[in-house]
Symmetry: C2
Subunit: 331 residues, 2 copies
């Protein structure tokens, strides 16, 4: 090999990068890059392994001005729990954008995806949520529910957290964790409608295949970030809600059309407005975002290869911190 | 990580696997698997990086009965020569087909792709070339030209080799190498037509965008394997030749329609026969192959993810030989 190749394990990566405002800025740059053009981002490669109850997704993007690009492979095998293994796994491979040579293998088991997904939620909240959010609610009780709330709290330091999930015990555990992590009161509520009613910022983090947030629950001064849908059969937000919102924005239009909430609205024949804007165009000011504090806004996040390239490049840039533990291979 | 992850470098892999009849059998099983059905093989993900004069291809396939599947990432950056770097690089990541966990990272820099591509050529020659091949010719002068001839010699031990390339010096060097490697006379010829006329087996290994082998050169008792085309703008064989041959077979129909020689024949409106068979269906006897020694046959190889999974699984199966040098990571 002409250059050393860095092999970083999940433990290395957990030391090198955490969820903070710096990372939110890193992921915001990926949204900005998409708006500025020149990003090469092929459609997601998805391999559905029905026999194994598994799926594999591959995302990548090359961003102008970045020295590296990442190829991210995510696996989800939903029989793993019975084997005592996590369902989700994966890694990122980082290549030089100038020579195509392998620069690093990030054996993150999905850690970097978890972080960049949460940071993308914070970017959406930063640019679309009302300026004052006192209560934020999350629909969903998994790891990403926790991370999304942590990330949102970085940009909207709300003082009360609400949680709803189909499993009340898991919702209570999630609320406990959030209370401890954020140092604020956090409460599991018995129905999702109540959560939406009491919140100015709502995040949905479920693998739902039927809406968990109804259009009639929308109220003035609400922002919703839907980050659960990432496949052509997922749907968290009632399609009518997208139409009813004052602003509905996508992370990537070509992705939400096939993988996100927008797919359901299109399929229902409900969307008759102009194509929705991408969040990056709002960030750079090409398109207006929230027009006033009473507006209702929805962000639809499917996760982009640009975000993967952004976090992977950031990790490699953290070289001083990483090099103490990194393994280097050279021939 | 629940399991060790093996990290193998190119040097490790060169010790573990070489081009021999055993490997040809391994790759033949990938063709057979495609014919038998049940293989999940998504379309190739291609990322064209025009600004960098680069391209990235990602191939994968999950084969029933295999414990692992590979995701192969190939990069080609064509300005690398000016930097003293090889144009082609890449790696394979191997996952458990049962749990989706990462099993190994094969940092092969394209070595395994080179081998499996050559072995696929041998599979085509084994099943389609005339029984007696005294002279074999290669159009192309690169590494794959050498490997294809070595692989073909394993299944058709010809006694004379011919080489043609646009650069006569490179053709002469290639002939010298082949003579030494195969222990037979090898000669660079001044035109491709002469090469085809004198050969019973011809392999084309060029990145040509206009045909280097003309239809009127075809003669009774000839087999041609075209392995250069792997992109929608490449074309080695005159489209009329595919029609004129008694049998034209693809490695994967869905790939040759967009990436292979068949694309050009379709685009020219020349193909009016039934869809061509896949080589695997000939191997398993579903479809007749060469009907007599005077037939003219053409195989069109674009390279499949099934071949990548087959060679990667084979490498991991060579554990006794590999484990002496492999690096294991575990948290």
């Amino acid at each position: 090999m002409p250059d050393d190749i860095r092999i970083l394990t999940e433990a290395d990566l957990r030391k090198a990068v955490t969820l903070d405002l710096g990372l939110v800025d890193v992921i915001e740059r990926a949204f900005v890059a998409l708006a500025q053009g020149g990003v090469v981002m092929p459609p997601v490669l998805s391999m559905d392994l029905a026999t194994q109850n598994g799926e594999v997704d591959i995302k990548t993007a090359c961003i102008p001005g970045f020295d590296s690009f990442a190829i991210k492979i995510s696996t989800g095998f939903f029989g793993n729990a019975a084997l005592g293994l996590p369902s989700l796994s994966g890694l990122m491979v980082v290549f030089s954008a100038h020579t195509g040579q392998v620069r690093a293998v990030l054996l993150d088991n999905g850690y970097l995806t978890d972080l960049r997904t949460a940071a993308a939620g914070a970017v959406a909240a930063r640019h679309l949520a009302p300026a004052d959010v006192s209560t934020a609610g999350v629909i969903g009780t998994g790891l990403q529910a926790r991370l999304q709330m942590q990330a949102a709290h970085l940009v909207r330091p709300f003082t009360q957290a609400l949680v709803w999930g189909r499993d009340a015990d898991k919702a209570a555990l999630c609320a406990d964790d959030l209370s401890r992590t954020l140092g604020i009161p956090a409460q599991a509520v018995v129905d999702a409608e109540e959560l939406v009613m009491r919140s100015q910022l709502v995040i949905t983090t479920t693998p739902a295949r039927a809406p968990v947030l109804q259009a009639e629950w929308l109220h003035p001064g609400l922002h919703v970030t839907a980050m659960g849908a990432d496949a052509p059969d997922k749907n968290e937000i009632a399609p009518q809600a997208l139409v009813r919102a004052d602003l509905y924005a996508a992370d990537r239009l070509s992705q939400v059309e096939v993988l996100g909430e927008f797919r359901s609205a299109l399929a229902a024949g409900l969307w008759t407005k102009a194509p929705p804007p991408e969040l990056g165009t709002i960030i750079v000011g090409q398109v207006p975002g929230r027009v006033d504090q009473q507006a209702i806004t929805i962000a639809d996040l499917t996760g982009t290869g640009a975000q993967d390239t952004a976090i992977a490049s950031h990790v490699l840039g953290q070289s001083v911190r990483i090099d103490t533990t990194a393994r280097h291979l050279s021939d």
